[in-house]
């Protein structure tokens, strides 16, 4: 019974990792590649480590596996966000068929300012003026 479970889990994990690797080669754009790898590989690693935990059937191994999986689930989105942000700032182009670029026009490369699109250019200065006038009164 456990053997069948181990075979199913490890096969699923290996297939997910293989699909992630194929997508990593085939995808046309750095951002699509990042998105492929973070999701599929995290799932594949979790499944294969789960099969290891079932094979050993031991509390110390299970806690170790849980620590590894939790750490990977916590860190892989953070790492993907950081590297995607760095590559957007370094002027890496999106794929020409991608539908939206929500940061389009909100990032000024020569001043490294990133606006949210809600505020206006001079609003900060206006607010400062208002505060100054209030202080004078």
């Amino acid at each position: 019974m456990t053997n069948i479970l181990i075979i199913i889990l490890s096969s699923l994990g290996a297939i997910f990792i293989l699909l992630a690797a194929v997508g990593f080669v085939r995808m046309p754009d750095a951002y699509l590649r990042i998105s492929v790898t973070t999701k599929a590989v995290t799932l594949g690693v979790g499944l294969i480590l789960a099969s290891a935990a079932i094979y050993f059937d031991n509390l110390s191994v299970t806690s170790r596996v849980l620590a590894i999986v939790l750490f990977i689930i916590l860190t892989s989105p953070v790492g993907a966000h950081l590297i995607g942000r760095a590559s957007y700032f370094s002027g890496n182009k999106l794929w020409e068929k991608s539908v939206t670029d929500e940061l389009d026009g909100k990032y000024q490369p020569n001043s490294h300012r990133l606006s949210s699109g809600e505020e206006f250019e001079d609003e900060d200065e206006k607010r400062k003026k208002k505060i100054k006038e209030r202080d004078l009164l």
């Binding site: 590989v41 480590l49 750490f71």
Partner: protein
């Protein structure tokens, strides 16, 4: 076919093929971000290789090394992205000075 043979002759070759594919992208990769992600991915697939080997040879202590590899993968990604942004900042300042 025992479970060790199944893992050794079917799962390990699949993982090896995926490592080769990722290494292809690491060599081709047009931008630096691709190469950093490929390195991260190579280390993450290394974790699964270690897990499979720990089942095949029945040694649960191999999983400690897998944990440390997970830590190193995250650290290297953060460090590379930090220095990428820093390099861009230096390039921008140089451009502004030239203008």
């Amino acid at each position: 076919m025992t479970i060790e043979e199944y893992l050794y002759y079917i799962i390990l070759p699949i993982l090896a093929i995926s490592v080769l594919l990722v290494f292809c992208r690491f060599v081709m990769g047009p931008s630096i971000a691709d190469r950093v992600v490929a390195l991260d991915l190579l280390i993450t697939i290394g974790i699964t290789l270690i897990a499979i080997y720990s089942i095949v040879y029945d040694q649960s202590t191999f999983l400690d090394i897998a944990m440390i590899l997970g830590l190193i993968a995250f650290l290297s990604t953060v460090a590379f992205s930090y220095y990428l942004e820093k390099r861009n900042r230096k390039k921008r300042e140089k451009q502004r000075r030239d203008d």
